[in-house]
């Protein structure tokens, strides 16, 4: 097996999914989890070799002329992310198979999930920036489908659209950034970029590339001020929230920053931008979670906060910070996956997600309660969970941040106090406390629903208890991939009495205090939010979209007015003016007109054409005008024959004939001749016609006199019989030398004909 076949298997699985519902029924989730789980084991099997420092590279030619390959690059970072995506993904599939059992189109839903999984795996194993971009956009598209899954609800559609527009906007910026980044290297291979990071840093493309790439990463990872789409995306079903918006998708931005850290990182710009955005997001996310009462929204805001922490840590860039980032990534994925799945379970069993309407659940679902509480313990950063180790590392990193460490430390401290507060609140308010009147008695969730949360918490617990033997092998190579030359710090639960431990104790104490005075805290936070954060970002976003739509509508009205004659006028005037300006400014046009060789009969034909033109313009009858026009056409045909362009002449005769018939057929339906245009309009038209006609004449005459290069017709004369076995050069060009052009042209013809057909036939049908 290799990574290419693995991705292909996932994509095929997602394509088949919509057709499986009937055959699989309840077992669907388990069946779907097989391939992800096998892939998970495959990545696990790579781990020993990866830990030897090996990197797996695989490359397929794609667009070699542009230095774009479809390539994969698997190192410690890719493996860590792939394990998360596939491992959690397998559990989510099992969970979703059961959770969604009553939903319509469950098969399609599972397909979207697998598609998302495949794009996420593709994203983290990409070895080429363009490959990475393709998968990046695929995650946006598949998450759009997932968030908007309940598409009959308008708020689900709005949330999905908002997420798509924001991440899509970021995606476009990202592509621009990638292109700029690739310019100094000539290709987009990660191996090339990693081998010489100085090339981009020393070029003046660095800052624009950095800003564009950060726009991509920040929008994807919901950094302030783009954070609002993530809580909005809670309109999605719980399995989606659990998967996309806690464990994987939003981490794509973080992954990108980690991946590019050796290339773009280490500069002042990188450090400050990431730190400022990260610390703001971390604190704002935590702060906004205080006043929420919807279980999923609380979790979503705490995800925003966690993403901010990760960005901040990568921006800080010290050995401790990078270690902390990777460990926290793992910590967060494990507990957040659990919490979201549990949130779904609680909603399923009680019918509500509002924590004010929940309480006393422990006696109904003790096992589920233990699972969720352990995850909350990890979130609060209390031993013996892995969350504790992560939090200690973060404190250590923040205390030793290279700049503004006091500010960062205080913001981080307050954030963690809020996390402790949230953990206590979710634990005590949901599982103990006053019991509301439930519609039916809640009970333990079934196996498929609890399996994922249970295992994730278990892993979190084991990694916390045996960090050296289990957590370090997972993370060490990832850390080195982010920052070459940095080593993995040996993780341990107990590291003696020091400042950081004191800080931890203080955090917990303050968190408990905050819970004790929670009513006052929440009303205080609400007051501040009302005063300073009254306008919601997502509302501003939609207002901007509305304004934009209004603006484009007005623009379209002005430009696409629907009057055919004005379109033609615009085209002709603009085109001829441009050419006239060019002729005016260019070299003087030398026209050598020589009428001596012109035979008398052709002079007569030209005179005929001129006479016909005048009568066509002056005529008061459509039919006369039409006949005059065809006289012009046949006159030109005679000229073709005189200069032995036989093919052209035949074509022209046929086309002229058919045109007359066609025009007659149209005229037949038109009303009697009415004078539509006044003298002014006619003068204007005459002016435009002169402008266009004269520039065409000048162009043709000049083209005839100026020989820039060997004419291409010599080549066709020589090779049309030897290579294409045809003596008729015109036809040989059409069907052999330039056959691809002709194919395009007949396609256009066919499409145009279909257009006319549907315009005439179908509109009539609609009217009737």
């Amino acid at each position: 097996m290799n990574i290419g076949t693995l991705l292909l298997a996932l994509l095929i699985l997602s394509a088949l999914a919509p057709f499986t519902r009937r055959y699989l029924g309840k077992a669907a989730g388990w069946v779907f989890a097989i391939i992800p789980f096998a892939s998970f084991l495959w990545f696990l099997g790579l781990l020993p070799e990866i830990n030897q420092g090996e990197v797996f590279i695989q490359r397929y030619n794609w667009l070699p002329a542009y230095g774009i390959d479809f390539s994969f690059y698997i190192d410690g970072l890719s493996v860590l992310f792939s394990l998360l995506v596939l491992g959690i993904g397998a559990f989510i599939l099992i969970y979703a198979g059961y959770y969604m059992k009553t939903y319509p189109m469950k098969g399609r839903f599972m397909g979207y999930l697998v598609l998302f999984m495949a794009s996420m795996v593709g994203l983290v194993v990409s070895g080429n920036l363009i490959t990475l971009f393709v998968f990046w956009e695929l995650t946006s598209v598949s998450s759009y489908l997932l968030i908007g899954y309940n598409h009959e609800k308008p708020e689900a559609r709005a949330a999905a659209l908002q997420a798509l527009l924001i991440t899509g906007f970021g995606g476009l910026a990202l592509l621009g950034g990638f292109v700029l980044l690739g310019i100094p290297y000539g290709n987009y291979e990660l191996t090339t970029l990693l081998s010489n990071p100085e090339a981009i840093k020393s070029s003046n493309l660095y800052l624009p590339a950095l800003l564009l790439i950060l726009a991509g990463a920040f929008t994807k990872s919901a950094q302030f001020p783009f954070h609002f789409w993530l809580p909005g995306a809670m309109a999605a079903p719980s399995p989606v929230s659990a998967y996309l918006h806690s464990a994987t998708m939003v981490k794509a931005g973080v992954f990108l920053l980690a991946r590019l850290n050796p290339i773009l990182g280490g500069t002042q710009e990188w450090h400050y931008l990431l730190s400022i955005f990260g610390v703001t997001t971390m604190f704002v996310g935590a702060w906004l979670s205080i006043t929420q009462t919807d279980l999923k929204r609380i979790l979503a805001y705490s995800t925003v906060s966690a993403l901010g922490s990760l960005v901040l840590l990568i921006g800080t860039g010290t050995e401790y910070a990078i270690n902390a980032a990777i460990v926290f990534l793992l910590v967060h994925a494990l507990y957040k996956g659990t919490l979201f799945m549990m949130a779904g379970n609680i909603e399923k069993k009680t019918g509500t997600r509002d924590i004010n309407k929940l309480g006393g659940l422990f006696k109904y679902m003790p096992f589920a309660a233990v699972v969720m509480i352990l995850a909350l313990v990890s979130m609060a950063g209390i031993p013996p969970m892995l969350g504790f180790i992560g939090k200690e590392l973060i404190y250590e990193a923040k205390a030793n941040a290279p700049s503004a460490h006091w500010f960062i430390l205080i913001a981080g401290f307050l954030t963690n106090v809020i996390m402790v507060f949230l953990s206590m609140r979710l634990t005590l308010d949901i599982f103990w406390g006053k019991e509301p009147a439930y519609e039916k008695k809640p009970k333990e969730p079934s196996l498929a629903l609890i399996l994922g949360p249970f295992f994730l918490v278990l892993i979190s617990l084991f990694l916390g208890l045996f960090p050296k033997t289990m957590a370090n092998p997972l993370t060490s190579q990832a850390i080195m991939a982010i920052s070459p030359g940095m080593a993995a710090i040996k993780l341990k639960l107990w590291h003696g009495f020091n400042l950081v431990l004191g800080l931890s104790a203080l955090t917990i104490a303050l968190g408990v205090l905050a819970y004790r005075y929670r009513l006052r805290l929440i009303s205080f936070a609400e007051k501040i939010n009302l005063k300073y954060f009254e306008r919601e970002f997502s509302r501003i976003f939609f207002q901007m979209i509305d304004h934009f739509l209004y603006y484009t509508k007005e623009q379209t009205k002005a430009i696409q007015h629907g009057y055919h004659r004005f379109y033609l006028m615009t085209v002709f005037v603009v085109a001829s003016l441009l050419v006239w300006i060019q002729i005016w400014n260019g070299d003087p046009v030398i026209l050598t007109l020589d009428f001596k060789d012109m035979p008398l009969n052709l002079v007569a034909v030209v005179a005929l054409i001129i006479a016909a033109t005048i009568s066509a313009v002056a005529s008061h009858s459509r039919v006369v005008a039409l006949i005059a026009m065809s006289v012009i056409g046949f006159g030109i045909t005679i000229i073709f024959i005189a200069y032995s362009g036989v093919d052209l002449a035949i074509t022209m005769i046929l086309v002229e004939t058919l045109m007359v018939i066609l025009a007659m057929a149209v005229l037949f339906h038109l009303p009697k001749y009415v004078k539509y245009s006044g003298t002014g309009a006619r003068m204007r038209d005459a002016l435009i016609a002169t402008l266009v006609g004269s520039f065409m004449m000048v162009l043709v005459l000049q083209a005839g006199t100026s020989v820039v290069q060997e004419p291409i017709s010599d080549f066709f004369k020589e090779s049309s019989y030897t290579e294409a076995y045809g003596r008729n050069i015109v036809n040989v060009i059409l069907v052999d030398f330039r056959a691809f052009d002709t194919l395009g042209e007949i396609t256009v013809l066919a499409v145009a004909a279909l257009g006319i057909f549907s315009m005439i036939k179908l509109t009539k049908k609609i009217k009737v």
Binding site: T651, V666, E723, R727, V735, F740, L743, I746, I760, K761
Partner: protein, 137 residues
């Protein structure tokens, strides 16, 4: 618009025009002619008939709908590019084969002829499609 002269002319001209269009199509490779002109002639044959007998009668006669004719033409043109791919050449390279390679008669056929046939059908199809739509109005 019933005209006896037109109807008689159309009845007799139609097969002649069809045969002429085929001849023009075939000789196109070495003499003036080709798929485009041939297609126009074929279309003209149908249109002439339609002017004499009406569009519906003509469509009954042609049996194949103009849309299908256009589609077949495009498909043929596209297919004519494939043998080159099988041979390992670039898409749409002309491939030739000789049949009946006797001393007196030799028939050389190549993918350009197939391509030309595609052009022929497409042009005829689109012409009749447009004309019939307008004439039926």
């Amino acid at each position: 618009m019933e005209s006896v002269i037109l109807q008689i002319a159309a009845r007799h001209m139609r097969p002649l025009l069809v045969i002429l269009s085929l001849v023009v199509l075939y000789r196109g490779h070495n003499e003036p002619g080709g798929g485009f002109i041939g297609g126009l002639m074929l279309g003209a044959a149908f249109i002439l008939y339609a002017m004499g007998f009406g569009v519906q009668e003509t469509q009954k006669r042609i049996r194949i709908s103009p849309v299908a004719l256009t589609g077949i033409g495009l498909l043929l043109a596209l297919v004519s590019g494939l043998p080159a791919l099988i041979e390992g050449h670039l898409f749409m390279t002309g491939e030739w084969a000789t049949f009946f390679s006797g001393s007196t008669f030799e028939l050389k056929l190549g993918t350009p002829l197939l391509f030309d046939l595609g052009v022929y059908f497409t042009v005829a199809g689109m012409l009749t499609l447009v004309m019939f739509s307008i004439m039926e109005e």
